[in-house]
Amino acid sequence: MGPIGENEFFFLMQGLKWTVLLAIVGFIGGGIFGILIALLRTSKTKVARRITAGYIGVFQGTPLLMQLFVVYYGVALLGIEVNAWIAVAIAFTLHASAFLGEIWRGSIEAVPKGQTEAANALGLHYVSRMKDVILPQALKISMPATIGFLVQLIKGTSLAAIVGFIELTRAGQIISNQTYRPLLVFGIVGAIYFIICWPLSHAGSGLEKRMAKAAR
């Protein structure tokens, strides 16, 4: 058995860097497209609602691992050469946009109908009605679920290991293979995930409680 020293720890931190970066890219990309999905999903156009419903269905109904595979090899099949980074960023963006889109669709619909009516009666158009009136309230309503999904996404980035990414979990595996101390190594890896995810979950449920109180 080998020791776990500075070098090994540094290696894990390198892995953590990729985990965090992947989660951020997925969350930002997914956030931007997710808003679009949510708006189309709640639009008046039936076709737009149908298409986005299908999109959400596909990404919620298949494993993230498979989505990573399909995008990684699928993009290569199209004859476009992209590095693993871009392929994985695309896959996480697609995945996150479907989930966030569905979460935000629900929150848009949870904003009381009177808000839309008041905006309409004042003559506000769609863009202002959404941007100024509905979305700020919807995003607030969605905060607990959105944070919950972010936590899922952070943990889900470990699947990027499958296409050759050395993120936190994969880095742990490598160190474990070198040192023959799987329990210790994965204990540390688990603790690192926990340190990141737990405060987020905690903040999420705190928000939920505060909102429940405000709604009373």
Binding site: G114, A121, L122, H125
Partner: protein, 253 residues
């Protein structure tokens, strides 16, 4: 009657308006014309179509048949006609519907800035003017949730006034209020009426109807049953349904 609206031009006209919700005939051949400066009180049992009627005027509800004209603009379902009409028609709702994430001032400045393109400075000036008028300027920086129901409804009135509408529609503005707050809202509405605003109010406040209405319209089952000046309406209603309704509602007041 506060001032005579008899010689004024017609501002709103409804001709033979029909509305269905599925198989339910919500509005049956409604014809109504409102002159500039007129104050109309609409009353009737719940489900009689009075709210639906005023919500059709600013296209919050669509109609199946008939014609609605506001200030010469025919409401034909096009975005252009809806926009034009909503610019002239303000509305106050039973449940206030203030934007909870905005301050009182922001609630009032949003529409003038977005719809009329008013500058921020001018929109604030306008908002302060109307908040002053509904006597709530001192609360301008607060959020709706920090205000009482009566105060919120007065803000909602100011918010509608900021678009400087030619007509104000009131959809049961005092029904969601605690009794002690009804008066402050009614007083604000009476003030508006005195200043010559054209108003259509769905309300059961018969004292208000007596005081300001030029005409009281009684609706039941989607039809206009009776229509008269308040004196006549309250003293000698013609129809049995009106008598029954008045009997019930006045017993409570």
């Amino acid at each position: 009657m506060l001032n005579s609206a008899k010689d004024q031009p017609t501002l709103i006209s409804l001709e033979d308006v029909q509305k269905w919700y599925g198989a339910f005939h919500a509005l049956k051949s409604i014809s109504l014309s409102v002159r500039k400066g007129e104050k109309i009180v609409l009353c009737g049992p719940s489900g009689s179509g009075k709210s639906t009627l005023i919500r059709c005027i600013n296209a919050l509800e669509t109609i199946e048949e008939g014609k609605i004209v506001v200030e010469g603009q025919v409401l034909d379902g096009s975005t252009k006609s809806i926009d034009a009409i909503r610019r002239e028609v303000g509305m106050v709702f039973q449940s206030f519907n203030l934007f909870p994430h905005m301050t009182v001032l922001q609630n009032c400045t949003l529409a003038p800035m977005r719809v009329r393109g008013t500058s921020h400075t001018d929109a604030e000036r306008l908002a302060r003017k109307y908040l002053e008028r509904v006597r709530i300027l001192d609360q301008a920086e607060k959020y709706p949730a920090q205000l009482s129901g009566g105060q919120q409804q007065r803000v909602a009135i100011a918010r509608a006034l900021c678009m400087e509408p030619k007509v104000m529609l009131f959809d049961e503005p005092t029904s969601a209020l605690d009794p002690e707050m009804v008066k402050e809202v009614l007083d604000t509405m009476i003030g508006l009426a005195r200043d010559g605003m054209t108003m259509i109010c769905v309300t059961h406040e018969m004292g208000f109807a007596r005081q300001v209405a030029d005409r009281v319209i009684f609706m039941a089952s989607g039809e206009i049953v009776e229509e008269a000046e308040p004196e006549v309406f309250f003293k000698s209603p013609k129809h049995q349904r009106t008598k029954t309704f008045l009997g019930e509602i006045l017993a409570h007041h």
